[in-house]
Symmetry: C2
Subunit: 417 residues, 2 copies
């Protein structure tokens, strides 16, 4: 995009700047998805992932003080001991602000980078369940009060309280212990991203945060209820799991300015995206005529695809008379609902979903071309604060505290096989 450092893809400085902006806005956490092993249209787009999520969060941990730090770590393609060690080290490094998004990898594209095929859904979720339990057992293998570091006697730790876990299941095994004492929040918070019944069950057993993709209030309510039901089935209080649907924002002084910003950022991909939109609306669209509105005849013939939950909204936007280019600039085929416009529209969206019990919070993806996070923090956050919907400062120094998640060290004794 014009005016943006074209090397920001490899800039850890840029990531730290964005994190500081989010912390200025009192965000409870950063959430870094991961999947750079997916094939990317590299001619036209920077890969939409960090070079390495753990190194990015390490840099941010050193240069921020309050914001939580959540990264994705695949349960399918990681060694549990390596993963447990790195997340707990991040938790120490950040003084209790780390979270692990424990997901299964589902793309053959990803599996190929590990010289493997994607296992069946049952095997993926079976392994994920064992992984989380084993990782939490390693986290708790250094007894909570074992670290005495007594200079008078020379005792470093109580060896009897730092003990092997000797866990082995169908998919993963480890002896332990992990030589890392508790952090300020004990151990990292567990997060899950997904929306399937398997996801509801896994998150219900272990997660304090569920990240979702919902395009309607109705779907978000159903997702939130399903995660809460999963927690209840696992013997937990449903309030222990918070549902955060995604929201993408381009905040600007008015709709036109926001659309133009999105066209400048992503307009190069619109000819290809026209083909997607055509399927969603069930009408022929011409990628050579991006500046024309979709004709009344076309709109009358449109049949929103029942297979894509974004279709009805896309048709609603198209019927407002925007050009094909502007319809696409509204983000009608993006990964989450998109607000492109003034700050109050984002605040209204969040308030409506929150009050309808469709969300406990939101995973905000502001467009991050230099000032996208700042635009949200300076525009949307004050409105939410004025409405009494968002805190004006951190009440805690740990991620567990930010979330109101109960204390936990080692596995949750309520969650049994």
């Amino acid at each position: 995009m014009p005016g943006v450092d074209p090397k920001s893809y490899v800039s850890f400085d840029a990531k730290v700047r964005q994190a500081k902006a989010a912390e200025r806005g009192k965000f409870q956490f950063l959430f870094l998805p991961d999947g750079p092993s997916q094939m990317v249209d590299i001619d036209n787009e920077a890969p939409n992932f960090n070079l390495d999520v753990m190194l990015t969060l390490a840099a941010i941990a050193r240069e921020t003080s309050r914001i939580g730090l959540i990264a994705t770590g695949s349960t399918t393609f990681s060694e549990p001991y390596n993963l447990a060690r790195q997340f707990k080290a991040l938790d120490i490094m950040s003084h209790g602000r780390a979270g692990w998004n424990a997901v299964t990898s589902s793309g053959e594209d990803v599996a190929a980078n590990y010289g493997q095929r994607i296992p069946s859904s049952a095997d993926r979720y079976g392994r994920a369940d064992e992984m989380v339990r084993l990782v939490q057992a390693l986290w708790g293998s250094w007894g909570q009060d074992a670290w005495v570091h007594d200079q008078a006697t020379g005792q470093f730790a109580k060896g009897d309280d730092v003990v092997p876990i000797n866990l082995g299941g169908k998919y993963v095994a480890s002896r332990g212990p992990l030589y890392i004492p508790p952090s300020e929040q004990g151990q990292p918070v567990v997060v899950h991203a997904g929306g399937s019944p398997n996801a509801h069950a896994l998150a219900g057993r272990y997660a304090s945060v569920a990240i979702g993709a919902s395009f309607t209030i109705e779907d978000a309510r159903a997702q939130r209820a399903a995660f809460r039901a999963g927690a209840e089935r696992a013997g937990r209080d449903p309030d222990e799991i918070k549902y955060f649907p995604g929201l993408m924002t381009t905040i600007a002084k008015d709709r036109r300015t926001a659309l133009d910003r999105r066209i400048a950022m992503t307009g190069r991909t619109f000819p290809q995206r026209t083909a997607y939109l055509q399927q969603m609306l069930g009408v022929r669209l011409d990628p050579a005529r991006l500046d024309d509105p979709i004709s009344p005849d076309q709109l009358a013939a449109a049949r929103p695809s029942p297979h894509d939950p974004r279709s009805a909204h896309a048709l609603k936007i198209a019927r407002q008379g925007w050009s094909l280019r502007d319809v696409l600039a509204h983000g009608v085929i993006d990964y989450h609902p998109v607000i492109a416009g003034p700050a109050v529209e984002a605040a209204d969206h969040m308030q409506e979903w929150f009050e309808a019990e469709a969300a406990d919070g939101f995973w905000i993806s502001p467009d991050i071309y230099e000032d996208g996070v700042d635009a949200f923090v300076d525009g949307v956050v004050p409105i939410l604060q004025e409405r009494g919907l968002f805190h004006t400062d951190y009440e805690s120094a740990t991620l567990r505290g930010h979330l109101g998640a109960p204390a936990q060290y080692g596995p949750d004794p309520r969650v049994m096989d």
Copy 2:
């Protein structure tokens, strides 16, 4: 140790301080071994490893500017794609200062943390060889000139130059590509630590640095020659591989002060170590009589163990009349030769070994209780500089430059199957 922060084991601040001290001393690199999965006598000693080597180096990368950053990454218990990604991301983050110590894991103690047994030596080194080639192929899979980031045309990269590697062998496989462009040094430097014929062959093929453990000049000369011969057999110039034997130092104004410092640090372990020393010298030693010199009768009966290369030196120290406690304080059963005394003794040791072609440099392990690195930098480095044996400033900004290692991107075409 009295006067030391007893929580330094979990302090990333302490690691960064030590790294800055080493950079002030113009050290070419930091070298972080790894193996926290080994069982540790946690009652008496802090684990001698970083909580996580990559997160430690990430913090250091952000807070230093010239020193090289090498970490151990097991070829036995890591996923090659994950390892390749994290080391190349560190290389980007540090602007071309990363190195990968590609070792095989050989302890059953370590394997147990991965729910596995240690493979045979042939399988370990077979996998290591495939791992290095695959990792280097992933590093080179983003074409050297592929990143155009052209703001006028909107092209991000030349897709035809960012390509799958589709490598698969007996042990590991990956499709790729890895979406990380070249760093300032292209890709990380490869390092190997070991001393067996397998190590000489593996390092000879791939490594720019070999880290060794030699207790005599004769052994170090033989090790250095063996690594150089390994490089020649692989079709490389032997000067492309540098041999760095270890050296542990406690620098103080005189021998007595240095010994007392070591006693304060590690004296708690001396009763157990007496049993080791007894085996090395072939005489009975009484751990209850640490303050007595070893008697003339005992010394006359001593038979240095032919199985331990440290035995002859241990006997030499014992014959100087030191108490049993002081003999142990000399570090006669430590992992590397130990200099405990004034700075000039360390400088003399290094000069002697260097001039005898027993070393291209040294892996220095100063005792790191707060000021151990500073004592080396302020005491030993100026002597080496005065003697014309050590540079007075960095000549380069990358690890490859510091080592005089030739440019390489992707696999080395001279090293064939």
